[in-house]
């Protein structure tokens, strides 16, 4: 769906996006993760043809000129925007009429559907000026959904939403994705990407430092976490395999939780919880962005 090669954007001396090789496949829920100011929004603008690349190439939906495929893309770029003196519906009507492809006779129905999807169907005629931040965000997402796009490019889509709103939007995106929409989401929120995405790209200082399926990133660490009131017994039983012990929580070097459990229970250890330890996305991110200079060369096109 999106493939870039060495995509670079300079603003004067500042390199906002630096040699990014992005690979988003059809059906992905791709999380583009990076701290503020790391070039996420610039990359989104590049993909949408709002800014022009300094060097490198990009291909979106099989076309190297974004303008041709934009009708099939729904986008939210750096926060929602609307004419403040008009109502949400008026804004959507104007936006829909502005571009090609939106049939006039289906406009009203499509607008109501989009508003329904984002939970704004009951909104009255008040101008957008009077909307809360969360309502504006929902309106922005509704605008992106207006043409039933095959690719959604969303920049910080849950900004300004309360926890319930975030949950609603996440469920909506998962539903759309299961119905066949590819979702590209940029965010600085680890938890958002971790809960929503199937594939992750991590950007730091304009460079894509890592790109992989979330499943691969969250691989088992080779350790098993055991909770037991009999910590001392376990320590003596598995001497040398206990990595750390913190109260009733023990970290044990072992690859199979089930086998370990059988062993412990057989020895009469009371196990209150057991499970393999997985690397959290946070660990991965801190690892590659913190002292990740040695990881630069290995990002490639993804290890899937």
């Amino acid at each position: 769906m999106i493939v870039t090669h060495g995509l670079t954007k300079r603003y004067g001396k500042v390199v906002a996006v630096d040699g990014v090789d992005l690979n988003v496949r059809e059906g992905d829920r791709y999380g583009f993760l990076g701290p503020n100011g790391s070039g996420k929004t610039t990359l989104v603008r590049l993909l949408l043809g709002l800014v022009y690349a300094t060097s490198g190439s990009l291909e979106v939906l099989g076309s190297s000129t974004p303008a041709k495929v934009l009708p099939q893309i729904g986008a939210l770029v750096e926060g929602p925007a609307a004419y403040p003196h008009l109502s949400g519906r008026q804004n959507l009507r104007l936006l829909d009429a502005a571009g090609p492809g939106g049939a006039r006779r289906t406009r009203k129905r499509r607008i109501e559907e989009a508003l329904e999807q984002v939970g704004l169907s009951g909104v009255d005629r008040r101008p957008v000026r009077a909307y809360s931040l969360g309502m504006r965000q929902r309106l922005g997402i509704a605008a992106a959904l207006l043409r039933k796009p095959v690719l959604l490019i969303l920049d910080e889509p849950t900004n300004g939403l309360d926890p319930r709103g975030i949950r609603e939007i996440r469920d909506l995106l998962i539903r759309l994705n299961e119905a066949g929409t590819t979702v590209f989401l940029s965010s600085h929120l680890l938890s958002e990407v971790e809960q929503l995405c199937t594939r992750v790209g991590i950007v730091d200082h304009g460079r894509l430092v890592l790109q992989d399926d979330l499943m691969n990133l969250r691989a088992p660490t080779g350790h098993v976490v055991v909770r037991t009131p009999d910590g001392g017994k376990v320590a003596s039983l598995l001497d040398g395999q206990v990595v750390s012990r913190d109260g009733d929580r023990l970290l044990i070097r072992h690859t199979d939780a089930a086998v370990l459990n059988t062993l412990l229970v057989g020895e009469g250890v009371r196990v209150s919880a057991i499970g393999e330890e997985r690397q959290s996305l946070e660990d991965v991110v801190l690892d590659v962005t913190g002292h990740g200079s040695d990881r630069f060369g290995t990002n490639g096109g993804g290890a899937s």
Partner: protein, 275 residues
């Protein structure tokens, strides 16, 4: 896209407010004139003002003379300066462009909406001041005995239908003049992300041009100043119509429109939209 721009035009309170203010100036002057009955002597004061006390149907011409030098360009600068920079500031520009709306298409629609705005403003000012003029000063029928004839600037008299045609021609000429200036504002609007900055830059052009016009040393460049032939619409009220400056004015404004629209497009088409 043009219909979208026109819908935005009519849905915008600011548009109607600016036209209302344009009408307020001639309304105020008309009221003062009718109360005091003190018209400026012929040859002094605003154009046509000395004549309107006798015949209110000439008042639209007087109103145009009042709003043209400053107020109308001010309104045009504000509206045209907002064209791209305003969309940029509200963030709606990026959403229009990813809709997608082609950049040239957007710019053309903005120019079309600007034309409609100027025409709308002019027509409302003319109709409004005609109503005000006739209500306060009458049509002159009482004094002359024949209905509504008006004395042209050169002394001969014009009948109402002739006057209407000339008024229309004058309005058309002013629309073209304002469009030339508005295209300059449109160009600034593609350069700046601030609608206010674009409007002020356009006013700076207006003021600079007006200053140059009074400067003898600026003689050689005078024929090319944007404001140089603005007041030539008055020539439509001479008998016979004096076409010399009107033709030159139209040609000059066409040049300004072409050059600055081209510059706007060249700048906007390759611009990185970072707002």
């Amino acid at each position: 896209m043009i219909t979208v721009e026109l819908r935005k035009l009519v849905l915008r309170p600011r548009v109607w407010l600016s036209i209302l203010l344009l009408c307020a100036v001639p309304a105020l002057v008309a009221i003062l004139l009718s109360i005091s009955d003190l018209a400026p002597p012929p040859g002094q004061g605003g154009a046509f003002l000395s004549a309107v006390l006798d015949n209110g149907s000439l008042y639209p011409a007087a109103a145009l003379a009042m709003v043209l030098p400053v107020f109308l360009p001010l309104a045009v600068a504000v509206y045209a300066g907002d064209a791209i920079a305003g969309e940029s500031a509200t963030g709606t520009l990026r959403y229009l462009l990813v809709r997608p709306v082609g950049r040239l298409r957007l710019l053309s629609a903005k120019l079309a909406a600007l034309t409609v705005y100027i025409m709308l403003a002019m027509i409302i000012v003319v109709v409004f001041s005609l109503v005000v003029g006739i209500a306060l000063f009458g049509t002159g029928a009482e004094a002359v005995g024949q209905p509504g004839s008006v004395t042209a600037l050169s002394g001969s008299s014009l009948d109402p239908s002739e006057l209407a045609v000339r008024m229309l021609a004058a309005v058309g000429y002013i629309v073209v003049s304002m469009l030339g200036f508005g295209t300059i504002a449109l160009f600034w609007s593609t350069l700046s992300d601030s609608a206010l900055g674009a409007a002020l830059a356009s006013l700076a052009v207006l003021i600079a041009s007006s200053i140059m016009q009074t400067l003898d040393a600026a003689g050689p460049i005078k024929p090319y100043l944007p404001t140089n032939y603005w007041l030539s619409w008055i020539d439509f009220f001479r008998d016979p119509i004096f076409w010399g400056n009107i033709d030159k004015g139209l040609l000059l404004q066409a040049g300004y429109i072409a050059v600055f629209f081209g510059a706007s497009w060249a700048n906007f088409a390759t611009k990185d939209i970072t707002s």
